[in-house]
């Protein structure tokens, strides 16, 4: 007996699925066209939704954190308060010293005022390890400009600019290589981005690097981006694998400063 196949079941794209699938595809193609023709308009459209998503994530994080160990949180808070007080004193002393040196020698780093910009989209929302800023060429941002976060920590460089928005390529973007230095003796190294704020680095076994050493990238001056968290020495290899802890968490960046000129 000949097997009877349902013609309707065999249709890969039924009229109903075509309507929903094609409608979704139509919206997507429209967004792609907006991105290509009016890239600034897309950021303006997405801005409120990004804000909503960030608020929802913050609320979810707050709820999940409330289930944590209260005593541990209190202990961490006390420890951080003590560290903060010590760092404030140290920072004040260093700021005074820097001011004295600037008065004496002049400040080569003060090429112009940085541009403050809010971050509208960041990892983990952005899958390519980029930041989307709410300021663009109208505010004076140019491609290639250095972007810094809290405390002047370098985050990356401006990749593309529209009139009212810009995209930042983070130094930690996967596969991005950045020249820099490590340690007090400023050993030249190449940092490789691993995504989500992390870097990888390997050094010859003979390098004088210790846990706690800072890693610097070029800017107006050598600027720290990460600190050595762990050194893994393989006896069978001539290289030491260096685990780095970034000084800035890209998941929680709200504001950045953008240099008014491109890096040389």
């Amino acid at each position: 007996m000949k097997t009877q196949y349902s013609r309707r079941r065999n249709n890969l794209i039924t009229p109903r699925s075509l309507s929903w699938g094609s409608a979704a595809l139509g919206i997507a193609v429209l967004l792609v066209l907006v991105r290509l023709i009016f890239p600034g308009a897309l950021v303006a459209i997405a801005g409120p939704l990004w804000s909503l998503g960030a608020a929802a994530t913050a609320a979810t994080t707050g709820i999940s954190n409330s289930f944590g160990n209260v005593n541990q949180v209190i202990s961490e808070r006390d420890q951080l308060a003590t560290e903060n007080a010590a760092l404030t004193i140290e920072n004040t002393a260093l700021a005074q010293k820097a001011a004295d040196l600037n008065t004496l020698l002049g400040n080569r780093a003060s090429a112009g005022a940085d541009i403050l910009a809010a971050v509208t989209a960041r990892p983990p929302f952005a899958p390519y390890d980029t930041l989307v800023l709410d300021a663009g060429s109208a505010a004076g941002i140019v491609p290639g400009a250095l972007v810094t976060g809290n405390g002047g920590v370098p985050l990356g460089t401006i990749l593309s600019v529209t009139s009212n928005s810009s995209r930042v390529a983070l130094y930690s973007s996967s596969g991005i290589e950045t020249a820099g230095w490590i340690g007090t003796t400023h050993i030249p190294v190449t940092l490789t981005g691993e995504g989500a704020g992390s870097f990888s680095l390997s050094l010859p076994n003979t390098s004088a690097v210790a846990v706690g050493d800072f890693v610097y990238v070029p800017g107006p001056e050598a600027m720290p981006v990460a600190v050595v968290a762990k050194l893994t020495v393989d006896p069978s290899s001539a290289f030491t694998q260096v685990e780095l802890k970034p000084l800035s968490n890209p998941f929680s960046i709200l504001w950045v400063e953008v240099a008014p000129h491109a890096l040389q």
């Binding site: 097997t3 196949y5 349902s6 079941r9 065999n10 890969l12 794209i13 699925s17 075509l18 929903w20 699938g21 094609s22 979704a24 595809l25 919206i27 997507a28 193609v29 967004l31 792609v32 907006v34 991105r35 897309l42 997405a46 939704l49 990004w50 909503l52 998503g53 929802a56 994530t57 989209a121 983990p124 929302f125 952005a126 899958p127 390519y128 390890d129 980029t130 989307v132 990749l159 593309s160 995209r167 390529a169 973007s173 991005i176």
Partner: protein
């Protein structure tokens, strides 16, 4: 209208909004789920995510669009070669 009929449409809408609202791994999970019901929706989700976040200087390939196409192809493949054979028995 039953829940079984509404659910795929809700998933498609959620998957389209996910790149705006949720971290990208969650958006990809919704894309795969939507692709299981509507193959074209997976492509759409990939396109939306890349329209929002793709940066030419960082990546030469729009990975999320390619992932959406892959999910759609797998979904069509499953519908064609698995579901039809089961129904044909």
């Amino acid at each position: 209208m039953t829940f079984a009929r509404i659910f795929p449409k809700v998933i498609v809408v959620c998957a389209l909004l996910a790149p705006f609202l949720f971290p990208w791994p969650f958006a990809v999970a919704l894309m795969i789920l939507a692709g299981a019901y509507e193959p074209l929706a997976a492509v759409a989700c990939g396109l939306v995510a890349d329209a929002l976040y793709y940066a030419h200087g960082l990546s030469s390939v729009p990975y999320l669009t390619l992932l959406g196409v892959a999910v759609a192809v797998i979904s069509v493949f499953v519908r064609k070669f698995v579901e039809t054979r089961i129904i044909g028995r």
